[in-house]
Subunit: 318 residues, 2 copies
């Protein structure tokens, strides 16, 4: 089987890590950069990883999509807060029979992508990755790294396991990235939201790490209530998450090292929060099915307030 070529949109903690792993495995990879462009074009990428450090002294670096060649797979590794850029980025980059691989959190991104490039295959990867960008072209991979792949079809109808999914899974597995295949992308996305909605939201609002949220009795209870609202949201889309999955997420989080969520890191760094992808879109999906999720709605409105206050302050300081 011939290997795919890859373009990585967003060479940060996530896109930089997976892209570097693919290039290291011998694949043809192109990286889109913004602030780090000059440094990376000259000096390449450094990856410190719990699985072994490595450097790529030379990479294909770009600061403009118009200069990039078309690739078999265009990987969206931006934060969802940058998705207003996709209508300009995607059309020149994707091939007619190409693949867009969405490595983003939340819900509803595939529908946006399908509107922009209607005839491509859209595959999503739900990433369980703990990594940070610690300097220009310098990524520090702390833990995890596995990806669950699923293919998008209109209205999130389950696709089963497709050829493109298997092809990408092979490329990633050969690069040492652990892959699972999901037959039903929407179910996978809702399952990931069980954790993401709960801990991302409360960690920002209450200025707390996961271990604090789990060790105080009232937040421990609120965590569980929020998780069950996500389960209700999933059910409103016809996707059943068993109670045992909630229990697994609770147990897993109690056993985790004290963890600062990605949204909390964004908040502390005064970056825009992915509130719409992770909270707004799931709420609207449930609402469209006639299901109201009051506690997630409460957390959503609190986060919107905090996010908008950051943006106002950031503009004032600009």
């Amino acid at each position: 089987m011939s290997k795919f070529s890859y373009s990585i949109l967003g060479t940060g903690a996530l896109g930089g890590f997976y892209g570097a792993k693919l290039q290291k495995a011998g694949l043809n990879v192109h990286f889109l950069l913004k602030s780090d462009y000059e440094y990376v074009a000259k000096s390449g990428l450094i990856v410190e990883s719990k699985d072994g450090d490595f450097t790529l002294p030379q990479v294909n670096a770009y600061n403009d999509v118009k200069k990039m060649p078309q690739s078999d797979v265009v990987v969206i590794a931006l934060k969802t807060t940058q998705n207003h850029l996709l209508p300009q980025m995607l059309p020149p980059l994707v091939k007619d029979d190409g693949v867009v691989l969405v490595l983003q959190n939340g819900l509803g991104v595939e529908e946006e992508v399908a509107k922009i490039v209607p005839n491509v295959s859209i595959i999503s990867g739900l990433c369980f990755l703990c990594s940070n960008k610690v300097g220009a072209g310098h990524i520090c991979h702390l833990d995890y790294g596995q990806i669950t792949l699923g293919e998008y079809a209109s209205d999130y109808n389950p696709t089963g396991i497709t050829d493109n999914m298997q092809h990408i899974a092979n490329d990633f597995a050969n690069a040492g990235i652990s892959i699972e295949l999901a037959e039903d992308l929407l179910l996978g996305r809702w399952k990931k939201l069980v954790w993401n909605i709960t801990y991302n939201g409360l960690s920002v609002i209450l200025n707390a790490r996961t271990d604090e949220l789990m060790s105080y009795v009232h937040t421990r209870k609120l965590v569980e209530q929020l998780m069950y609202e996500v389960v209700a949201g999933s059910k409103s889309c016809g996707r059943i998450i068993p109670d045992s999955f909630v229990q697994t997420m609770l147990d897993y989080t109690v056993k985790m090292k004290p963890y600062r969520t990605s949204m909390k890191i964004d908040y502390d760094e005064r970056r825009p929060l992915e509130v719409e992808a992770i909270f707004g879109n799931p709420l609207r999906k449930a609402q469209a099915a006639g299901v109201y999720l009051p506690q997630i709605s409460c957390v959503y409105q609190q986060l919107k307030f905090l996010d908008e206050k950051i943006r106002v302050r950031t503009q004032e300081n600009a």
Copy 2:
């Protein structure tokens, strides 16, 4: 009509203000103090007020309830977080045909008092007061000051206007304190919670003043949703708050000067929060009537986390 004598339990921003006004009007008032006892016993009280400054160079000051005489009216002007002290304080102080006047926020305090001193008349005053203690025996009255009085009967059955209510109302009115009489205490308490639950909760959790909560579209909406949950809680107790009251509270708050709520001040000063009186008891009252208030419950659990974290930190620093 002979005038009542008064004992003020808690000579802070609220108890000190009203007690000083009563003494200034010629009534016999006794003040229980803690940290300010020595200063006030020697130098009295200073009240700076928008209605006119005054000093009381000599007051009846005590640091121990056992040294206080019995009074016709024992005024509870402590924070509800101190109510575990009431079983020792009240029995020696109240007369058999006496009155306990509760000047506290929230719900359910009267039931506690009735258990401790079953045969006395319990009257509650819902205070709309903006004042601070700015130094030992030194109170600064910024705005408002009116009190709504209602009498408690078993199970919060409405009492109408009672003789004791009118007697206390006369004493307060003669001291220049604006008084309204409520025939149904429980309705009055729920109405006050419409404002108190909403703004106290969100101001602490989101580190925000009232004007910020009202000017951002998402918190403006959450404010309204929380208010309607209080209305639903009130309804669960058979007390109907009209929609027009919610609208009045919203309009009133938009027009207010930017305001830091009392719970936010407590939080900023690292004092215990009145979470149980203002949130826990109303939630339990509604729950007992089979009504679940999910967004108030979310805010309650968030506040409990923040309150318990303060207490842990305060103990660590002690």
